[in-house]
Amino acid sequence: TQLLEQSPQFLSIQEGENLTVYCNSSSVFSSLQWYRQEPGEGPVLLVTVVTGGEVKKLKRLTFQFGDARKDSSLHITAAQPGDTGLYLCAGAKDSGYSTLTFGKGTMLLVSP
């Protein structure tokens, strides 16, 4: 079983603060994705990283894939209440019909 460990499990911060969420595994993935899930909805894809060391930016969100493709981080600058949600990382192996393996998520609460 390819396990993805996310930390922290829960994060409560004030608007304007910066934060980083981590996703770690002992397995190598061909790609890693980040999703955000809001209450009562399904996860929504934010980004896919494919190359070791790759950095992608989505407005105030910065995603990085580890050099060895075993870990990833999500950094949010100047968090806003609209960033509140469950952040999930998911790893994929492009071998045949593989499915995504999800981490257990980081619940982020940003207070005004």
Binding site: F29, S30, S31, Q33, Q37, G40, E41, G42, P43, V44, L45, T48, V50, L86, L88, G91, A92, K93, D94, G96, Y97, S98, T99, L100, T101, F102, K104, G105, M107
Partner: protein, 115 residues
Amino acid sequence: DTAVSQTPKYLVTQMGNDKSIKCEQNLGHDTMYWYKQDSKKFLKIMFSYNNKELIINETVPNRFSPKSPDKAHLNLHINSLELGDSAVYFCASSQAPHAGRNGYTFGSGTRLTVV
């Protein structure tokens, strides 16, 4: 237009009953999935279908029977419901074969409560 739609949104039923959840996607994707999200928000794969054919069955009890009449639909039928089946069930789709690079599109989930 909703890309992946599931019905019903909520389902409350008694132990021992049989129920079905329906899923449809209008994205033209080849692959569809059922995931179960438990009370701790952990998403676990149940089934994966590619062009109507079952390709992954992750040790799910045989009380759960998926059916894919065509590649745009993947339904989930559950027999003899148990308390432990209570969870949120998500349908998702992706463009095979590189599902990992294109990502999944999820439905909004079906919250199943067995009482």
